[in-house]
């Protein structure tokens, strides 16, 4: 009941901005109609209702619906164990809402993760970089239109983008004799590979 009371207090304070609290499995969810107001609601919840602990921020991609994004905040009051979930919708054209970093410091990484995975930007965030994927990665992998198998991308500035000198070769350090390569059980020659050094030598050995 405590959760519902607190949700009603938020509702009483902000009126039409807040939806009627919904309860499911003892958890109370309220929806904030305007994402731009999220900071005000969070500040109120923290200062007046004791929600000093931000458990988590997550995001949902409602692919094919409008507005496309939903951002979900899980708030907790340490003292009495009250919990509430705030949700707000963000349209795909905008894909931006204000950061709550000023309210809880922990929002920093959560918001970076949402930006990284979904591509929702947080205005006012001082350090909105990718966090799990690398800098320069072109996609947002948690979007519903991103395939599970992934998409090929170039990895900038790391090894193995060029052909390695030992490619296709026998992985031995020193061939001791002429037929050492043919004896090497690990040697793998691709069927229609371009003839390289190792191939020529292999063919030569077989001709003998």
């Amino acid at each position: 009941m405590l959760n519902l009371d607190l949700a009603n207090q938020i509702k009483a304070k902000f009126g039409d901005l807040i939806s009627e609290p919904a309860e499911f499995r003892g958890e109370v969810t309220v929806k904030i109609a305007d994402a731009e107001k999220i900071v005000e609601v969070c500040e109120f919840a923290k200062a007046k209702l004791g929600f000093i602990y931000l458990v988590d921020i997550s995001s949902i991609d409602n692919y094919g619906e409008d507005p496309r994004w939903t951002v979900v905040y899980h708030l907790r009051a340490i003292v009495n164990g009250a919990e509430i979930r705030l949700k707000t919708d963000v349209s795909e054209e905008k894909s931006e809402l204000p950061t709550v970093l000023g309210v809880w410091a922990t929002a920093n990484w959560h918001e970076r993760e949402i930006y990284d995975m979904m591509g929702i930007r947080f205005s006012g965030h001082p350090d909105l970089r990718r966090i799990l994927m690398w800098e320069g990665y072109p996609y947002f992998p948690l979007r519903k239109d991103f395939p599970l198998a992934g998409k090929p991308t170039n990895v900038p500035d790391v090894a193995f983008t060029k052909v390695t000198p030992l490619e296709g070769g026998p992985f031995v350090t020193l061939p001791s004799s002429d037929d050492a390569i043919a004896r090497e059980p690990r040697v793998r020659v691709p069927e229609n590979a371009e003839p390289g050094i190792s191939d020529k030598r292999l063919v030569g050995n077989q001709l003998k």
């Binding site: 988590d56 809880w104 959560h110």
Partner: protein, 423 residues
Amino acid sequence: MATVQDIEIRDSAARTAAAVESLEDIQGEKMVLNMGPSHPATHGVLRIVLELDGELITKAQPDVGFLHRGDEKIAENMTYTQFIPYTDRLDYLAPLANNVAYALAVEKLLGIHDKLPPRCQYIRVICAELARISSHLLGLGAFAMDMGAVTVFLLTFTEREKIYNLCESLAGARLTTSYTRIGGVSRDLPPGWADQCHKFLEEVVVNINEMETLLTRNRIWVDRIRDLAVISKQDAIDYGLSGPNLRGSGVEYDLRKNQPYLCYKDLDFDIAVGATGDCYDRYLVRMEEMRQSVRIISQCLGKIPGGADNKSKEPINVDDGKIVLPPKQKVLSSMEELIHQFMLVTEGVNCPPGETYFGHENPKGELGFYVNSKGGGVPYRMKIRSPSFVNLSIIPKIFPGCMLSDTVAILGSLDFVMGECDR
């Protein structure tokens, strides 16, 4: 003659300011040092970009994600049951606890999390607490080894081996246990398991005491980590720390007590809380948590309904054919069970539309699953709130003002695991 050296300024930010002030007349430039991602003290693949003024850290920028596998994306593309093996690989030092957390999260969505059979609840608590001991043993062992106390590491690994043996006879696997199922556990305690567990508890207490004699009053250990990286109560809450890191800062918050799940209400245990929030407090909290876990497990083994070998045939799964797989004999002889089995395997557990969040007190902190369902056997969105990810976000706050050699101690005291952080 021994002297005690006290650090006068406890707050790390104030200490930086004081140190910078004293260095102002010395000419020099700052150096940027890259630590990790492959560094023995980063316990996995954590990279930290450190900005140094001499030996003093002035800025620290953690870089995570080297172990990102896209678990949340994977979860959206498979049934709830199929995702259980992936939870083993989150915090791979405590797979049993992850299994329990995940199962409870899905059960909360189904609305059966408080209707689990008592025996199942006790088994799950035993699992979670065994995982806690195992994880803390490794965390402390590695922490001590990074500080040069290699003996402790050997002691803890001897004990962890016994936990792995227990896991093996319980679940069939040592590391990737996948023990829980939605609505229960995959199998009952094997015969003789409770006795083995009792024996282990007796031995581990001896070993914890021995570790304590090696560390707790050890001058080198105490001097090295006391008053180091103090996290205040406010900061701990503000940065969303959880688990031993939060309690080490003096916040008495434990999900097992504050939001009791399973049978924790019926068990008698205490919550360890630190006083100052330094590395030494976090170490002490973990030490005490292991003792409390031993206490919890021995109570569970005594109180478990049906006793150790379940002579009275207490159920271990909820009695609902639409959630738990029926016994194989019945599948082969009865139409209804056959249909249930077919539906569960092909479609998955049919969850109602809705959204729930369940936070579980994992060894590393609060492991939470936010499940958003549109109905059916596959989640629409599954967000994993991993404690290591959140705990690491405080690094830029606590590192400045510490010495370069302290990084290893602070990382050890934060006790994170990258498999869970990067998901």
